[in-house]
Amino acid sequence: MAHDNSYVDKKFNVVGTRFNRPDGIDKVTGKARYGADASAPGQLVGKVLRSPHAHAQILKINTSKAEKLQGVKSIITFEDLPDLTGADQGMADILENCMARGRALYDGHAVAAVAAVDEQTAAKALKLIDVKYKKLPHVTDVDEAMLPTAPIIHDRIFTRGVEPKPTKPSNISSRTEMGNGDIEAGFAEADIIVEHSFKTEQTHQGYIEPHACLASVNPDGTAELWVTTQGHFVFRNVCAGLLGLDIAKLKVTSSEIGGGFGGKTHVWVEPVALALSRKANRPVKMVMSRDEVFRATGPTSSTSIDVKLGAKKNGRITAAIAELRYQGGAFPGNWAMLGCMTAFACYDIKNNKSIGWDVLVNRPKVTAYRAPSAPMAAFAVESAMDILAKELGMKAIDVRLKNVAREGTLAPYGPTYGPIGIEDTLKAVKAHPHMRAKLKPNQGRGVACGFWFNIGGQTSTDLNIGVDGTVNLAVGTVDVGGSRSSLAMIAAEELGIDYEDVKANIADTTSLGHNDMTEGSRGTFSSGMATIYAAREAIEVLKQRAAQTWGIPVEDVAWEAGHAVATGKGHGNLPKLSLREIAAKSGRTGGPIAGHNEVTADGAGMGFASHICDVEVDPETGRSTIVRYTVVQDAGKAINPDYVEGQFQGGATQGIGWALNEEYIYGDDGRLQNPGFLDYRIPVCSDLPFIDTKILEIPNPNHPYGVRGVGETSIVPPLAAVANAIANATGVRMGHAPMSPPRVLAALDALDAG
């Protein structure tokens, strides 16, 4: 059945109100089961041996001593994971990242793995594995990795996107260029030109639940995997591909997920656990330690970015150019490209250009982190906007409003924008009482904007109505932020029943069609769309059953507020039938009543936000304290405002952490110095004020309710909002994030000296 995804303005009964989440009770009582909370009869414990070197050739792996240890049931190296990926280099990279093949490419790269009867035995066995390494030169800094003298990480990589085609391998995997207009002409027109260079350090998604799974493979090739993931269907396909299993025979169940933020879109120990289980023919449970999580999973790119803006005296920007260098770890990515696409997305700049360099270094394989690549580009561009405003003698918010992108603006990545909300967020910021609140000594206020595309993707949803009229909603997008509540609300809205009568569940991979990851802020957007369509199909069935009961044509039945109503002439005296009444008789009217939908939910609405940040800087120590923070963002339509606010607040806080103290610190030896929550400093409760939020609703024309994704955009503005606030508090422009106390104090000293 074809469905129309167009937005229809209507009054809602359930959507837009606040309901408690269906998983709440399990989560507050400790009953909710996460990745590490499952067990199976005869289960073994799996552990990974990791490289202590940043870059090394693996000369020999001797497992014979470990094999002899009592209680050790299987040991694997890359030889137990033969390359079945064919021509798919992306899959080959995933395989090599899961288990080193001849070379260790970063500190923490998996080299071998053990499954044993218990934790202690597995740990002992790891120590008995003898690996002979030959250390190789390494590079961990993005700018250094681009130098012609840098050690080459992969001989097979030649820079894509440059002419003539390179003849020598390089750590630069690709060059991207994007933009509109004539950049030289634009700068020639400018009265004022500002330029600045920026650096951002590598950060980790920092989910509190480490990666964990329970794998069981049978000799006949059937297998089960219980795992904490943002997308169990994608994990199924990837694991099946890497291990040579049949997709239909690998059942993957998504556990409750203890945070992901992009970091659980990628497999790490899961293929290893399956391989260990296959070799031992016993279930294998693997739980990563925090140290492993930091050293070997997740992080986002560190970057180096140059921005140049040219403007007329009246504040109109005539030209903008950015050069963005992003490292993707030891494997190629397209992170700089995403930076290019987002850098100037908030503005209508006739002549703009972004040049991106994707670079390899000896660090863990970069994985998406909430609006991947956008925060760094926004840090650079939004800082430059404030520098420009200062030069122009204009208010920073007015320069933004003067150049803001609107419906009809050409996006820097090409197409013309439909209805978008950036101007509304800026106007809301300008009118917000926060902007007029008085600042105390050493305090400053900064504003910054952010953009993220949001995406849709493949989605499949089942809606089954029980004989008592309650409804099971089976969805395949993992609930990472409260989407079960939102989706149940949507089903209740469509069916015209109470929220309490709908129970949303995340189905396993054998119970539903394929679903893409919960990533790109797509969960509520795309499963919401599929839920609407599934509910509408169920309503068609309900109407048919009512028509049959009444003995009238189905065309004469309407669905109103949870009831079938006879509308045709001459049916006036038929009493309406409730969903419950129809469901109760379903066994005798044609069987179970259900609605299904499989959809590729494209057309996600872009998300824009503007943030206000007040910071107080201790001029003697350089420490910055966030004293007030406000998020204004366009949600399209907030299904459950509680969880929309939660996304705004959480994203802003991650951005604040990045802005102030979070960073990967590598030693000269190329080893990560701070792989723990003590020295990788994510914000703690006492570091923060309340985070105020304002939800704007500019409907997405391509969703029946107008929903846009809301999960990611809120991490984009904070780095620059904090930097701009620090600049206004102290007069120093921080070009290096995080803006940790030593960096701020050094900048203050330089200002005094200058």
């Binding site: 992306g90 991207t176 994007m178 995403l338 595309f453 949001n454 493949q458 391509n702």
Partner: protein, 80 residues
Amino acid sequence: MRVSLSSSFRVGNDAEATLEVQAETIAQLMACLADRFPNLREVLSSDVAVSIDGQIYRDDWTQTIPSGAEVYLIPRIEGG
């Protein structure tokens, strides 16, 4: 119909910024481009999205392209 290529796709393919193509769906558009630019085939199979009148389509290649629509070939994005 006319399709515009993001500059990343033009390097090494001697492609104009905007091309005239005979296509009514995204799938047909992709087939045309693959024929015309063999170097782009690998990219087209997995690394692109199509923007039709400002809306980004990453996956649904059955999507029809209205006549007169603004069509852009852009890099495929992913999220976190």
